[in-house]
């Protein structure tokens, strides 16, 4: 196929279509506005999807933190016979870790070592484009 010379009539057709497209894009403001509206709608949809995904995260992040903290405390008590101090201390630490998890999941604390700026940058970037639409 690439060896064949381009069909002149086809070429003419293409240029005509391109011209029409250009005039449509430049001419009536409606086209541009519509494209912008589309873009906005897509961004909104992406945002709401990310929002629901985040909502799913928050509760489980919190519960997991407390459970893991309590589990470690219980295990320490069992092996070192320090009952009940391991459970008390690690449950509290687990609670702190759970709060940290939730704050991280909601983007209010930077992910681990990353600065807050990179988190916000990342959010802005993912808001701008919706790879699924």
């Amino acid at each position: 196929m690439p060896d064949q010379p381009p069909d002149p009539s086809n070429d003419e057709d293409l240029s005509k279509r391109l011209e029409r497209l250009r005039s449509n894009l430049d001419g009536p403001e409606g086209m541009v506005a519509e494209a912008q509206r589309d873009e906005q709608l897509r961004a909104e949809r992406a945002h709401s999807k990310a929002g629901i995904a985040q909502a799913f995260r928050l509760s489980s992040e919190f519960i997991a933190g407390v459970v893991v903290g309590g589990g470690i405390g219980y295990a320490i008590d069992k092996y070192f016979e320090t009952s009940p101090w391991g459970l008390i201390i690690f449950l509290l630490l687990g609670f702190a870790a759970a709060v940290l998890n939730v704050l991280r999941a909601s983007g209010m604390v930077a992910e681990s070592e990353m600065s807050l700026k990179t988190v916000q940058d990342h959010q802005n970037r993912s808001d701008k484009q919706d790879p699924n639409a």
Partner: protein, 262 residues
Amino acid sequence: MIRADHFEEDEATVANDPISQFNISKLLQLDVGGYDISFTNSSLFMVATVAASAAFLIFTTSGRGLIPSRLQSISEMLYEFVAGLLRDSAGSEGMKFFPIVFSLFTFILVANLFGMFPYFFTITSHIIVTAALAFGVIGMVIIYGFYKNGLGFLKLFVPSGVPGVLIPVVVLIEVISFLSRPISLSVRLFANVLAGHITLKVFAGFVVSLSGLGLGGVIGAILPLAFAVALTGLEFLVAFLQAYVFAILTCMYINDAIHPSH
């Protein structure tokens, strides 16, 4: 009492309690070295999930059209969606993890969607399956993190700018926070799928039992029927979103392994 006598019969038709849909039954008894590795209905649906997603991707991309057909563009959208997800969270360096993220996403998505078929077994409703996936991801992150950064990977647990006195406490909290990741990852997926399927079954059960009560019951059954229909829609959303959440969190953990400190 009568129920118990006719249990076998019930099993053959439709069991009425909401839990029996999660029963594991052995299809092929296998026993190797004292370990029970029987081929169960769960294994069957895992194989079906892998086979269906692989067959779909191979079939739709076999044309390799420059202008994609409808099915091919579904595959391309799937690829671009996951690739965008990974590139956004872990940068282009993270793209070497694309195969595993893509496989995880498609596996969970297809498994969840398979679960939406009546009479089908939902593999993601068992915590052992989701926990295996989650611990696999975390194990990969830890191994790659140490391989790539050496002991520098431990910086993940020591945030900068913390006063020296507080470091032991903060490190403990960070370690617990890290350990809670696979738990939350697996419990979230399993709990959402399990709860959704039980709710759906309970509401559908109301329809059947109410409509057995005569005309008044049939009219009364309209409400739970409407709920069941709405919940089915919600379950499709959850099926997609849970796969999405699992994939995006995998990407974020991979990012931690690549850049433990910025």
